[in-house]
Symmetry: C2
Subunit: 343 residues, 2 copies
């Protein structure tokens, strides 16, 4: 154990810059845990004084992944994003997408030259756009100083230290290499990528497809159907990504297909659970209210549907989920119609 | 109901040829059920007089899918493959792969001009080859008179009439169209394909990957890992299929990816269950003995591994499963090694 600690601090002192995480949900908590495998200390900007106080008192996040115990000496907790950004070279943004603008618009300290990493799998409502575009257009952070953390990496399994694979997409190879070093550990393997937009969009799309898989399950469709649904979804995703940002990519890499599968199948997936409730007959409103976590797929469906329309893309699964979530269309009828198109 | 029956018999009289099914396992039983949605009668060659007598007595297969009740007036049961082949234009072979040669080598009636459809997802041990090659090489049945039934189509869900999608790959479009008509129903959709070998090999490979997914699950790997495993498996499958039979194909179609997913994830999958037992510490022998169904992936692993070696293909997942099943290698160590190659 002592040897392990010594190795960590040596590694850190030699090469790792100061890293901070913004957000206090389950994935943010998992990211702090991952980083502490390599970093002597992690800066952590949580949402409220209450959460900060609770972590300081108990040594764990009281609401998300409470089984993950932190050595408080290794955390620099704050509720002030400016304090965090001022002290860090790398800022990992891991709030729910709907709270991102609220957090980053408070920024007044200089952040030129710092790296911003998005672990957010959703659309920024204010910009009606993905995080990478929002950061570039509103904050002048070029892609060269951005990165995206992609899955399949459900936080609950990171908490249990079950071997998981992160894809890190970055605009420049140095940034990618540095992040690979910061995240690789006994239970985390890192796969590098240059496809920031593809990884970001696919992480958003998979939430919509997971809502759809959940609806079909709630309606009583079985395993045979779900497998067909997912195999159609990955082809639709490939078509969408090509329409948005055409670069050579293999959508069967883990960040695209793997993340889609884990989200569509895992019982940990809140998007799938939202869909399942709707398929079982809950209204959309009551299904959302009954969950105490944000299901990103709900918000994403609207924006992605509009993008698909604007680009003239053929996305029957996204359209179906959108119509159920936003146009009060009958899930059973919509899925019966969709089933005639799938193959 | 009367209208439905009338429609069925009209359809059948007009266009469907006489169809027979050879085999009495779960998928054979499901195929008989599927065909009876369109055919007034189905010929069914079962393995023994005992099974034949039990079906005649009870109206259902006593061992597999016992909840599926048949109208005995619509079945022409036999235990004699020659009787069946003599009376049928289309013969669906649905035995476990290890029993196929035993069944078809009894054939002495002429079968020229008849269509042979393989619903077998395994290697013929005697030929150490796939069914399509075996039928062509040993019985002079050309690909033009062959077809392959591909999934994702677990029999248990067909029994429940849950919407499922079959891919039918045939060497000629007329045969494909006729089979599409014979199988399409309220709960079965059919997708046509021309890729006989690709569909057959992928149905075999997916069983090996399902054994692998089961081993990893038995070893304690979680959902994040399984998703990465499957996303690597589909890429390995693509590479293997290209090495065997290079034609334009999209491995993300349901017959390839969908069937892989359903087999790797479904609790109905005997291949996954076999792997799971091995991962939990059972010896290979005791795991096989504890199951009362044949896990095709076990037999396939040896033949496919040898094919991969002979063709010089890079198939680390197949190699890993092979070494655990046939070389008594330690599953934990093998999967730890494999995990460093996956991405």
């Amino acid at each position: 154990m002592a040897a392990k600690k010594a190795k960590k601090s040596e590694k850190n002192t030699r090469t790792l810059p100061a890293v901070g995480v913004v957000g206090s949900g389950s994935f943010a908590t998992a990211i702090v845990k991952m980083l502490l495998e390599n970093c002597e200390c992690v800066h952590w900007c949580v949402r409220s004084e209450f959460v900060k106080g609770a972590i300081e008192l108990r040594g764990h996040n009281p609401t998300y992944l409470p089984a993950v115990n932190f050595n408080l000496k290794c955390l620099k907790l704050t509720t002030d994003i400016n304090e965090l950004v001022a002290q860090c070279d790398v800022v990992v943004l891991a709030t729910p997408s709907i709270y991102l603008s609220e957090a980053v618009e408070k920024l007044y300290v200089p952040y030129e030259g710092k790296i911003f990493v998005s672990a957010i799998k959703g659309i920024v409502p204010k910009a009606n756009d993905v995080v990478a575009h929002y950061l570039r257009d509103e904050f002048n952070i070029p892609f060269e100083r951005q990165a995206v953390l992609a899955g399949p990496c459900h936080a609950e399994e990171v908490a249990m230290e079950r071997l998981s694979y992160l894809t890190i997409a970055a605009g420049c190879t140095e940034v990618c290499g540095m992040l690979e070093q910061a995240f690789t550990s006994d239970f985390i393997r890192v796969h590098p990528s240059a496809d920031i937009l593809g990884n970001e969009y696919s992480a958003i799309l998979k939430n919509i497809y997971a809502v759809g898989a959940g609806i079909s399950s709630g309606l009583g469709y079985g395993d045979n159907y779900t497998a067909v649904f997912v195999s159609n979804a990955i082809r639709e995703m490939e078509h969408f990504l090509e329409g948005i940002h055409e670069v050579p990519r293999d959508v069967n890499e883990s960040a695209y297909l793997g993340d889609l599968i884990v989200t569509a199948y895992s019982l940990f997936s809140r998007n799938r659970n939202l869909g399942n409730l709707i398929g079982k007959g809950y209204t959309v409103k009551s299904a959302i209210q009954s969950m105490n976590m944000v299901a990103e797929g709900y918000y994403a469906a609207k924006s992605i549907y509009e993008t698909s329309r604007a680009k003239g893309l053929h996305t029957p699964i996204i359209d179906t989920v959108y119509r159920i979530l936003y146009e009060e269309k009958n899930p059973e009828k919509q899925f019966r119609k969709l089933s005639t198109i799938l193959n």
